[in-house]
């Protein structure tokens, strides 16, 4: 399949929207940089999978959703949570394991949830969230609603059984679901080609008679536009879509993995960083005089302040009470 780029020139009437996208991508970038620091300081523990380099995917995709739509993700979900509108305070506090975190400090980095925002988490088992997102889409259809359910997962997850079983059901039953593959080309240390008999992920849609598109995930507007088409299919035509969104993670798989050395070279990483989604959007906005350098610095300053406030909030927040160990195991 040929990859869809955005050719449309920028529309000055939508400047606020573009700035909003830029703001969200910068927020995720700065948030993740701080999370990395806090992890190094031992303030965050366990597995921590940063989203640096992939910001355009979460931001462009979620920008095409309505507030009452559903979003489900993997363990690499900080960016999706923030793009969905979860506060940097509640997310950072969760990473710190504090009582003020979105999951009361019980879920941590891999299990961010927000019922208010229909943010269905935050899942640690590869592929485990795919049928869950289809279940939300099933509920929409069951109730005759017109929401859509968006599911994020990595390209390595397409090889696992739940991907196959779920896409078949979603197509068979015409569920309003969007299966978005964040194709960063590696599953941990394994390159796509070493794990998947077919390198072109979109090809997989053939087995389910499902619409598919290949998208430039380093281009936030291209991602947004492809998502708008997928959302239209789900909301209006009531059919699911598979999106193969090409992106790249600039950092290691998790905090315990080096960004390069074993399975990819420094050159490769540096080459891809030239394609930084934030830098690219800034450049375009500057070219078209929709923002000034000063604007960008201001936005960045605001965001840095917001993230520092989030860290301060997380640091000063209380640990969960010991009794919390035994609450939430069951619902009344």
């Amino acid at each position: 399949m040929t990859q869809v780029h955005t050719n449309a020139g920028l529309d000055s009437a939508r400047t606020d929207f573009y700035r909003q996208l830029l703001r969200q991508m910068l927020l995720i970038r700065r948030f993740e940089e701080k999370a990395g620091e806090a992890y190094a300081l031992g303030q965050i523990g366990g597995f921590c999978h940063l989203y640096i380099g992939q910001e355009a995917v979460a931001v462009g995709a979620i920008a095409a959703l309505r507030d009452d739509d559903y979003v489900t993700s993997s363990y690499r979900e900080h960016g999706h949570a923030l793009a969905r509108g979860m506060s940097s305070r509640s997310v950072m506090a969760e990473l710190f394991g504090k009582a003020t975190g979105c999951s009361k400090g019980k879920g941590g980095s891999m299990h961010l949830f927000d019922a208010e925002l229909n943010f269905f988490g935050g899942h640690g088992i590869v592929g485990g969230q795919i049928p869950i997102a289809a279940g939300a889409a099933f509920a929409v259809k069951y109730r005759g609603g017109d929401q859509v359910s968006l599911c994020f997962f990595g390209e390595a997850a397409v090889n696992i059984g739940s991907f196959h079983e779920t896409l078949n059901m979603a197509s068979l039953w015409k569920l309003p679901a969007i299966f978005l593959v964040e194709n960063n080309r590696y599953g941990m240390g394994t390159a796509l080609e070493r794990a998947s008999a077919v390198a072109d992920i979109a090809e997989r849609a053939t087995s389910y008679d499902m619409d598919a598109e290949v998208v430039d995930g380093m281009d936030v507007l291209a991602t947004f536009e492809a998502m708008e088409r997928a959302v239209h299919r789900a909301r209006t035509d009531k059919t699911p879509t598979l999106l193969d969104v090409n992106t790249y993670r600039f950092v290691g798989h998790s905090m315990s993995d080096a960004s390069h050395g074993t399975y990819r070279t420094l050159e490769e990483v540096e080459e891809n960083k030239k394609n930084d989604p934030i830098g690219k959007l800034c450049a375009r906005l500057l070219d078209d005089d929709l923002v000034t350098h000063k604007d960008i610095e201001e936005i960045d300053a605001e965001i840095i302040a917001e993230v520092e406030d989030a860290v301060a909030f997380a640091e000063s927040s209380p640990e969960p009470e010991p009794e919390e160990l035994f609450t939430d195991v069951y619902k009344d």
Binding site: I132, G135, Y330
Partner: protein
Amino acid sequence: MPVLTYRDALNDALREEMERDPDVFLMGEEVAEYDGAYKVSRGLLEVFGDKRVVDTPITELGFAGLGVGAAMAGLRPVIEFMTFNFALLAIDQIVNNAAKMSYMSGGQFGVPIVFRGPSGAALQLASQHSQSFDSWYANVPGLKVVAPATPADAKGLLKASIRDNNPVIFLEGEMLYNTKGEVPDGDHVVPLGQAEAKREGSDVTLVCYSKSLIPTLKAADTLQNDSGISAEVVDIRTIRPLDTAMLVESVRKTNRCVIVEEGWPFSGIGAQLVDSIQQEAFDDLDAPLLRVTGADVPMPYNKKLERATKPTPQKVIDAVHRVTYTA
């Protein structure tokens, strides 16, 4: 009271709960057009249509997970496994998602879902189709585990399970589907977590659940008639949460206990009952707690060998004679 089969009691429970609550739906293999592999869902498709009685492809992992997502979105799915042997393919969704969603989301998301279907051996289905994983589910915090033995309990416990706001593993006995019993009229609901003495007695406590109630009651009658031993038969009905209080009370009275189950012995349900009882009633015990379990082998196909694996009245009687030192 009307007399119903265990199968029809389950069917009534499903029908009544689906009438009561439009968010309840049934999903699984062959549940709709085929009326269910064991006909538990007979007629439901006609009444509720294919929106609420949904046939699935053979994709246990997929539709179990889809049910979890639907439950998070506010529906109340009843997921039928044609048998619980096949639920092994779905167990990641049951244990990692259904059981943990509430906890790992800090209580934001509940998963009101029932996973139901026949569990344990039927007749000559051989090793891959004759297994009880009851103790596996009971091991998992976040799950409730229910295993009715009678039509009345089948109906009352299934209704309670569907109304429960947590994931419930509802284990049916394939060999019980045709058994008959009185079922109270009206909205008969049996709360989860309550054992019931199916027979009063004073000399020994026999603990069982699901299918094992049958050989246990037979044994109790024989013991009474042949040896004048008065056995109390306690059907735990809900495995998790376990009604330990009632078990301990009974053992405090009888000072002896034999536990009967169909599953494999190692870390089975009976092992936990032994642990719970001896911890609380150690000083009341006049004999070790004995267990009668399924044989510690994969299930053989041959009928005689298969029969030899199962708990029988005689095996229960022998155990009782050992704990009452009347052997």
